[in-house]
């Protein structure tokens, strides 16, 4: 009797433990993206607020972007339905161009801000990804509400989208590209050439 009671208790304890583990797992997974965003955010803010020159800031930000942002996934999303009709050569060229455009767009804005800080809020699921709320505080400007969408599909957490005041950057970009393609004869080639022109223009402006 004593043994069976002990066993029952043991089973009970094991079951409770198992239940506890299953229950706590989603909570732990929900915390992870927030920590990831907090860490990435504080690294970015430290660079933005530093006294480095724009070129040095760019050098420091690049490895962060390569490591913590899933640029390929964003690029595929932005090309939308045209990803499936693009040839392999076009896809490779597009990914290369997209990387450069994204890096230019982000690094151009680094010099604009000083004295930036942020707070991390709640995490909510978005499909298979997690969206982490953040508030960006800039001196002399109203606080900006943002959401960082983090995907763990590739194993490690990576940023796949940023939502600013309700507008998703990748969705806005996809509609920009889609509209440009459909107005330029419906070919992916037209988009690739436009991206190339954008990069060339950026380089000439930067070199002057």
């Amino acid at each position: 009797m004593i043994i069976s009671l002990g066993r029952r208790r043991l089973f009970g304890a094991l079951a409770a433990l198992a239940l506890g583990v299953t229950l706590s797992r989603p909570a732990a997974a929900a915390e992870k993206p927030a920590d990831f965003v907090r860490q990435l955010g504080s690294q970015l803010v430290a660079i933005v607020n530093s006294n480095l020159s724009p070129a040095e800031k760019k050098q420091k930000v690049l490895p962060l972007l390569q490591q913590d942002v899933d640029v390929d996934a964003i690029a595929r999303f932005c090309l939308g339905r045209y990803w499936n009709v693009a040839t392999d050569a076009q896809k490779t060229r597009y990914l290369g161009l997209f990387h450069q455009v994204l890096v230019n767009a982000i690094t151009d804005k680094l010099g604009d801000y000083r004295g930036v800080s942020f707070t991390i809020g709640a995490t909510s699921p978005v499909g298979e990804d997690k969206a982490v709320d953040a508030i960006l505080m800039r001196p002399g400007q109203p606080d900006a509400n943002m959401q960082w969408v983090v995907s763990s599909a590739s194993g490690a957490p990576k940023v796949v989208d940023v939502v600013g005041e309700g507008a998703s950057l990748r969705l806005t970009q996809r509609q920009d590209y889609a509209s440009y393609i459909s107005r330029s004869g419906g070919t992916v080639e037209a988009l690739l050439n436009a991206l190339q022109r954008q990069i060339d223009k950026h380089n000439t402006v930067a070199s002057h």
Binding site: E165, S168, L171, Q175, D176, S179, R183, A194, Q198
Partner: protein, 285 residues
């Protein structure tokens, strides 16, 4: 086509006379209700007269999905309005806004922006009530009371520090919380991105603005005009960098504005719908 050109010329004519009426719809109330409704009427007339200016529905299912997502039936006409607005803006309001930023120091500009926001608070209040959100309505009411008194006529946003930060609302969003669909996207000349629902909401908001009912005398009409003009220039100045970046970064700025506007309006409407805070303030509990 000739009636359409005539309509556009009419719009160009009537709008260039009142050029200073650009700005984000939820913060700017500049001219009297008649002028606003009149311009809306012209826009609607133009719409009606431009049946040929709609985009045909594509046959391909993927293209059709894209067409539905953009929700821009009147794209050819909207693009004309967009180009017209951008050209006029480039030579008129944009240089004025740049000069304003150059000449007026930042603290003065932000005080004027605070005042514009406070004067707009009654519209936010009425719409919060309309949307059935007493807590939000209370916040707007308290903001107006605090800022008009302790904030010296709205110049200082004291309410923000007292725990009542600003929130947006307008009649387009109220209609959205009632379940009214947005209808097709519209780019209204000199007024910017909108939709059929938000355009109607704009007319309602103009009617809700107490400042538009000021009597003659006491300099109130002059104040209303000055307020409208300063608010227009101020809100355009706030967007100088954003619009410049957009022109640089976007391949099709028109489509980018459309996409961002539609997403932001939906997010704003959702945030109002999902605001289930208790009616009594936190300190009362």
């Amino acid at each position: 086509m000739s009636s359409e050109t005539g309509d556009q010329q009419r719009i160009l004519h009537s709008r260039t006379r009142r050029l200073l009426s650009d700005g984000p719809e939820h913060t700017s109330r500049r001219t009297g209700p008649t002028g606003r409704i009149g311009s809306l009427l012209i826009a609607t007339l133009t719409l009606a007269g431009c049946g040929s200016l709609t985009t045909p529905k594509p046959k391909d299912p993927e293209a059709l999905a894209e067409y539905n997502e953009a929700n821009d039936k009147f794209e050819p006409m909207n693009r004309k309005m967009y180009n017209l607005s951008m050209t006029v803006d480039k030579y008129t309001l944009k240089p004025v806004a740049k000069a304003y930023v150059w000449a007026v120091p930042r603290p003065v500009r932000s005080s004027l922006a605070n005042m514009a926001q406070t004067m707009n608070e009654p519209i936010v209040f009425f719409n919060d009530v309309g949307a059935g959100k007493p807590r939000r309505a209370g916040d707007a009411f308290v903001r107006w009371c605090i800022n008009m008194t302790a904030g010296v006529g709205g110049l200082i946003d004291v309410a923000k520090y007292a725990g009542y930060p600003h929130h947006d609302n307008d009649a387009g969003l109220t209609l959205a919380t009632w379940g009214v669909p947005s209808g097709p996207y519209l780019f209204l000349p000199m007024m910017g991105p909108s939709s059929v629902r938000d355009g109607i909401g704009y007319g309602i908001d103009t009617g809700l603005m107490p400042l538009n009912y000021v009597p003659r005398g006491y300099g109130l009409l002059t104040f209303n005009w000055a307020y409208n003009i300063v608010n227009t220039i101020n809100s355009r100045a706030d967007r100088i960098d954003d619009l410049d970046n957009l022109e640089k970064d976007a391949l099709d700025p028109y489509a980018t504005i459309r996409s961002a506007y539609q997403q932001q309006r939906k997010a704003l409407a959702d945030s109002i719908k999902n605001d289930h805070r208790a009616t009594v303030p936190d300190w009362y509990n």
